[in-house]
């Protein structure tokens, strides 16, 4: 095999996390070391204010090791992977496939079950178009379970990100199938009382999110997957807000397909993952077609490569995938149980503080189990854009708007919310900075605070 400079691509991680601390939040000393790995946290914004980045749910920041891995690929191994017999291509291919193994292991999966996509949105569209192509008799798949038509149903939930809603709206429109959805309770949980009436023999797909990108709600994935399987439906999971924040194991979850994005888990932009059960991926028709994904091609017709290559048309984003592999290693070193415990401390601190402010209303569950680190809220009488602008002026970056979950906001009767999302590198002191800034809002906009 070629002589790879693997030390550079898979660098010595600078974090040293004690294994005896399993399940514990990070210590102050550990947090200092973790933060030192993220160069952007050093910068200031808005006239010299230290950056307080509380928008990791939109995209996370990247540690040096990820940036170095991408740069190293371009400096040493840049090539079109899975093409050519020269050394660079061999090296690039090996690194790319090694990243696939790392990411698979990160979620308890096997190498060939992981498909690289542009992002989670593409992964979910890949799934939806596989059904569409099956219905049209194309795509080379063999599974009749993918062929949708009138009388069939696709079930989603009212708390979905647009990325796990619109592909299914369009799929049902193209195929004549019917879209249904599970409503959300006032407490921000899925209303499962009526699930038996919604999840029936007609349901071919049940697509739902693991953790809401607005409410913070963590859904009972195993139960929902089992109930989908009981009626013969496929369970498709949006794991964008869970894989970066919680220990995730695809075997435990029991779903059939799971999509998530790389850039929300400390990895580069431009790469996401679709995981699937091997037999499902085998049967599934292809989505994007072209180079790399073929077995044989004639002018009339083509046959397709084995999984996962048949889903990876074109020269792939190797540098990003390799960077994502290093991000998974980095999170693995931190320990996802410790990341989850740390984020729980931050969100509990924030939720407790918001509960003491009667002019703030949290949209979603309070401080309780089955809740992630995402906290969305409204300030009575002040639009979220204005709240976000005041915070921004103090160097605090949050997300404002409907966070690509417009129907969910409509459900709660609000046009927009202010959303705080945290990651391994955030501190309680940063939450306090955000709260101090928030406390300036009521007076500024003349509402009771």
């Amino acid at each position: 095999m070629s002589a790879l400079t693997t030390a550079a691509i898979s660098p010595e991680l600078s974090v040293e996390i004690s294994p005896e601390m399993s399940g514990q939040p990070f210590t102050d000393e550990e947090l200092v070391r973790i933060r030192a790995d993220f160069p952007i946290l050093e910068r200031t914004v808005r006239d010299g204010k230290p950056l307080v980045y509380l928008d990791s749910g939109a995209t996370s920041q990247k540690p040096f090791v990820v940036l170095d891995a991408e740069r190293e690929f371009y400096e040493r191994h840049n090539s079109a992977v899975h093409r050519g017999a020269h050394q660079l291509s061999e090296e690039g291919t090996e690194l790319y496939e090694r990243a696939r193994s790392t990411i698979a292991a990160f979620v308890g999966a096997r190498h060939d079950e992981v498909v690289f996509t542009k992002n989670a949105t593409e992964g979910l569209n890949l799934a939806a178009y596989a059904f569409s192509n099956a219905a049209a008799g194309g795509g080379g798949g063999s599974g009749s379970r993918f062929a949708l038509g009138p009388g069939d149903e696709v079930l989603v939930t009212e708390m979905e990100h647009h990325a796990n809603l619109i592909p299914w709206q369009e799929l049902t429109r193209r195929t004549g199938a019917t879209l249904r959805w599970v409503p959300v309770t006032d407490a921000g949980r899925l209303d499962l009382d009526g699930l038996d009436g919604l999840l029936t023999e007609r349901t071919k797909v049940f697509a739902f999110t693991h953790a809401s990108n607005v409410l913070g709600t963590v859904n009972p994935v195993r139960e929902l997957a089992d109930r989908a399987h009981a009626v013969g439906a496929l369970a498709v999971l949006d794991a964008c807000q869970s894989v970066p924040h919680l220990p995730v194991d695809v075997v435990d979850l029991g779903v059939d397909l799971m999509a998530w994005s790389g850039h929300k888990m400390l990895g580069p932009l431009g790469v996401g993952v679709l995981w699937g059960r091997p037999e499902i991926l085998e049967e599934m028709p292809v989505f994007l077609t072209g180079g790399s994904m073929i077995e044989t091609v004639t002018m009339e017709r083509s046959t397709y490569a084995p999984v996962p290559q048949k889903f990876e048309a074109g020269v792939p984003m190797a540098a990003q995938a390799i960077g994502l592999g290093v991000a998974a290693e980095y999170l693995g070193e931190l320990g996802m149980d410790r990341v989850a415990a740390h984020e729980e401390v931050l969100s509990a601190h924030l939720l407790d503080a918001l509960a003491q402010r009667p002019w703030v209303r949290v949209v979603g569950p309070g401080s309780e189990p089955d809740r992630g680190g995402t906290v969305a809220f409204v300030v009575d009488g002040v639009h979220a854009h204005d709240v976000g602008q005041v915070l921004d002026n103090d160097g605090v970056a949050v997300r404002v708007g409907h966070h690509c979950a417009w129907p969910l906001h409509r459900r709660f009767g609000v046009a927009a919310t202010t959303r705080v999302t945290v990651a391994a590198y955030n501190t309680v002191a940063e939450i306090d900075t955000m709260l101090a800034s928030l406390d300036r809002v009521p007076a500024m906009f003349g509402v009771d605070g």
Partner: protein, 156 residues
């Protein structure tokens, strides 16, 4: 913060001439899809004069205050003057802070000059104004002869 001038906050707390009124020649509903801000604009024309601009604005302080200023600046003015005000507002907001705005044309609208430094908020400030031009078109006004000012060159 130069964004939230007192005038803007005043207009957002107590928007002038707010509410939808009859009669009207055209009604439009515009949204800002990134944040869900919504505005409904009605125009009533009397020949070449904007007799009334009534509105219902639901959104951030910038978009509500901007609709309030819009109604003040165009009501009772000729379509030509109203479009000149629109052009001046647009030029100021897209100037990245280079154009302080013409108070003769914009009135309280010059308070929005600071918005130009916040690209994410320019759309909030223009939402009602853009809807107004759409309403004029729907009321049968030809606005194609109105030319936009040259954009200000970026520095550096």
């Amino acid at each position: 913060m130069d964004l939230y001038q007192e005038l803007i906050l005043e207009h957002s707390k107590r928007p002038h001439r707010a509410g939808l009124r009859e009669p009207f020649d055209a009604e439009v509903h515009h949204v800002n899809p990134t944040c869900g801000d919504e505005v409904t604009i009605r125009v009533e024309l009397d020949g070449e004069v904007v007799r009334d601009l009534s509105y219902d604005a639901l959104g951030c302080s910038i978009s509500v205050a901007s609709a309030s200023v819009l109604s003040e600046q165009v009501t009772g003015h000729s379509v030509r003057e109203a479009l000149e005000a629109y052009n001046a507002m647009r030029a100021m907001l897209t100037s990245k802070g280079q154009d302080p705005g013409d108070e003769d044309l914009l009135g309280d609208g010059v308070a929005f000059a600071g918005v130009a430094k916040y690209p994410a908020r320019v759309k909030c400030a223009l939402l009602g104004w853009s809807a107004f031009t759409d309403a004029l078109v729907r009321a049968g006004i030809d606005i194609t002869h109105i030319t936009l000012p040259e954009p200000v060159a970026e520095k550096g």
